[in-house]
Subunit: 303 residues, 4 copies
């Protein structure tokens, strides 16, 4: 039922637990003839990798991706693209014999499936997002006309970037963690992608971002400010939203996602003081997947 798939014409399916032998994904429906090689995917994976700065979890995962199908002589063939990353640094001992942790999905997994993998979050781990980033790197090839860039807008409610390092140090010292707001802008999206009612571009973007771990809110363009606005002011502001009636306008598509603070605090495992920082490349990837899908859908229906 596509519980673990995403997209309509460009279809992305991921698999793998954070502490199993490997994680992977399959991208189905990718157009043929696109240049694709492992270094391209690796480049995006490296950008999200934990252990690259003091502000993200010190796990040392090489995240070395392998492309197992769908590419021949450096180009996509139109058949499914399978990618895989071996889990080489899965010290599950850190997590053994833990009770369900508040804020982790362990308890809900248990409620749903009647059992749980105690080694750290199972599927609902930030690790699964590596495959989203891999998938997003392929999606970018489908939409070379679009540029997608996400950045941290706020950390712990602080918009002054100069204050962030201090806040993070403080949180780390106090075994606390911080929320973050990520903004993503996609430029170059031509007018006409999307659909008016249930395959709305903004609805798909909202689902894509709300489906990222720790995201608790999504807004498009003027967002919640519009919910507090009056007409005339909104008329001006809305020019920046990039989507109207579910369909792209040709202007930049602007989206913001709110990441809640990390919930695993003060246990033996290795976690980020602010998962939102690592969220930016994941947001980019999801937006790339949605836009690539809608490009193909639009081409299919409207030629």
């Amino acid at each position: 039922m596509s519980f673990n798939s995403f997209g309509r014409l460009l279809r992305f399916t991921s698999w793998g637990e954070s502490h199993g032998p490997a994680i992977g994904c399959v991208i189905d429906g990718c157009p043929p003839g696109l240049e694709l090689a492992e270094p391209w995917v690796q480049h995006f994976l490296d950008a999200r990798r934990p252990g690259t700065s003091r502000n993200v979890s010190p796990r040392q995962e090489p995240d070395r991706v392998r492309i197992l199908s769908g590419v021949y002589e450096g180009r996509t063939t139109g058949t499914p693209i399978a990618m895989m990353i071996d889990n080489v640094d899965a010290r599950s001992a850190d997590y053994a014999d833990l009770p369900p942790r508040p804020g982790h999905a362990d308890a809900t997994y248990d409620a749903k499936y009647g059992l749980r993998d105690p080694r750290g979050g199972g599927r609902a781990s930030a690790r699964e997002t590596a495959m989203r980033v891999a998938g997003g790197s392929v999606a970018r090839l489908v939409i070379p006309e679009v540029e997608i860039a996400a950045r941290v807008l706020e950390i712990g409610g602080e918009t002054d970037q100069g204050r962030w390092d201090a806040l993070l140090d403080e949180a780390r010292a106090g075994q606390d963690s911080l929320g973050a707001i990520i903004e993503c802008v996609a430029t170059g999206v031509p007018a006409g992608w999307g659909a008016p009612i249930y395959a709305k571009l903004d609805a798909d973007l909202a689902a894509a971002c709300m489906g990222i771990n720790a995201v608790k809110g999504v807004e498009i363009g003027e967002g919640f400010a519009a919910g507090r606005a009056r007409g005339r002011e909104s008329m001006d502001a809305k020019l920046t939203s990039g989507i109207d009636g579910g369909i792209s306008t040709g202007q930049p598509v602007v989206l913001r996602a709110a990441f809640k603070p990390t919930s695993s605090i003060g246990i033996g495992g290795r976690h980020d003081p602010c998962v939102g920082i690592r969220g930016a490349p994941v947001v980019e990837a999801m937006i790339a997947l949605v836009l690539a899908d809608h490009k193909l859908l639009h081409r299919g229906q409207c030629g």
Copy 2:
């Protein structure tokens, strides 16, 4: 491609333009044996009907729904339920010869489909939401254990309900309009509905609400406040979100949607000064559709 469908196992498809002869929907996958008759659906339609107070558009649409299939002797049969409402008050003359209006989807329709129906927004009309409300009324039958209630939380940024009438009068007099924030709470959702990765309950709820006309932001539980929060405080707050790792926890599910101000101001047509007010029953309907779908999905996968 389900451009105009919604849901997975309980599948809702709507059709019809605001100023065509009729609008309708088909609900596929509804379990058999549920008591369903037209007055039940009509009850929810009447609650959203324009013309019922001075604060919503004075169009007099009877919105008389007919059930055309899928029900026999007062009970659902398991076959598709088709419902239809004739458009009896479609004064399209009001809209004739208008250029694309800023903030209406006319321009994006034109970009996508190469033509547009100038009679007032085509599919992207608040009128289409009548069928969502009809669909939601059927979805409620699937989840009798759940109670869903939406209410206006803010109008034009004002949280004091006592000030709303004055604000609306002022907006009407000034041919202006106001944004609104709607909060919806679903109680009685058992633990275990949803799925961990892409069929997350929160992601589906976000898409459902972002797909409503004029909605520009959606948040679950603590929402954007969590994006500005630090760990410990969030730990407490999150107890009210009702969803963890994409799966319901058994606690009330809380969601907020931001409606932008009406964009059609100062033209001849008849519009609401605050569409968000009429948004509450639509939000309820969409949430009912998502929850009913996830109940069936959960039963299918996990027995």
Copy 3:
């Protein structure tokens, strides 16, 4: 769950019981700008209508179709196309108080849904095929390059057309009924439609035809003869199949469907001595829907 939908990018959903107030369908994903008016659809409906010859059931159904949405000024708009036919000749009294009839779906409906509509087969009626024919007429507009023609190949095992009238008269007199084999050829299908594994063009065609009432076998190209053949002879024969590896070759696509004899014999209702005769336009319609869908899919993925 698309229990009652068909297709991927061009999505067809039907609703309605044979003896309810109306039957209808929704076609979602139809490209915009195609010329469409009711007489075009009616033309195909009339070709399948019962009561037009002595060899098909004498029910007098006008089958007058109405297009309710998705068309503006004679052209498709890209939004869902809803069509409806009122049931004006539903003499359900003929069927009242009947026990489940052998070979009718009544018993399986009962097993599945725990209830049944005793008025004659509910959804599983030849009447539902009217909407397939309506849907197929729209699909033809999507693929003007393709010509689709089905014809009766055998009746009751008799391939000599000159013997058919006598066989049918005999069956009618003896309250018996006859099987039929329909052959359908689609010419003009360009090379490249379809997909290699699960969205194979031949697999989709097989499902489309096996989903028609009374069809019990489907074969593509050389079909079952190939299952009884040896290599070299097959090499020659296969040149006529039109599909290789799930993808069209550019040659005519040839398909045959086996219709079992009518199962309702000797009861008060009005039925055909050979439903297969009426099956030809339904086979054409289903093939048109599949081919149109695959054209859009191919355009979406491969530009």
Copy 4:
């Protein structure tokens, strides 16, 4: 777009080329708590493995399957089950520099995707069916009440099993090949699985089998014989079909598939004189996948 996926609630996706580094699959939607370990899957893979008798291709593929996710302590967890087989015996040199072979999908791949992988059929290889067999072995766990058994019914038109060895020897000596007809019977399917219109159990079974390489015809129950029959005789015969109106009756489900002769004859590669012999376990697997899917769908909709 599910070009390479199959199923609705139990969703099977395969990937991999016959001569790439590996092939694999993902099974999404599998219920939690089922006992699953690699030997179970391996057992079914071994049954279809080439090189196990003189009548199937002498390739020595160990087909050693690995389960990479979705199983914890010997039980399914409800998350996606990924399986993979390394391709250790891919002597693609045998196939290098070959022109498109008649009857191979190479030419249609080229037409569709504008390029082709000359190393032997790409996706459209019998090798891909290994993953179907792996997937089918998981599906069997979902439907322990059902027994599925396929057997060869005819080889080269010969129904007398005693003549088959001679026929095969003769074909091998003459570098010729033979068609086959496989019959599969599923017993224990309870009444009520399936759906009346487009998710018909028989339509899904037909698509599943027609999607197997080399299959050119599929029939359910009395099949093409019904297309040549008259009423009364059919009434008796139909009691064995097991499906009525798209829904299972509780009786055994009987299906036959026609495999055309192998098309790659007299080239350097290693091929079977009769691929149909190896088709039986693949037919079983596809039927298991369809039945398991419909069991979950039925449980979802009808409790």
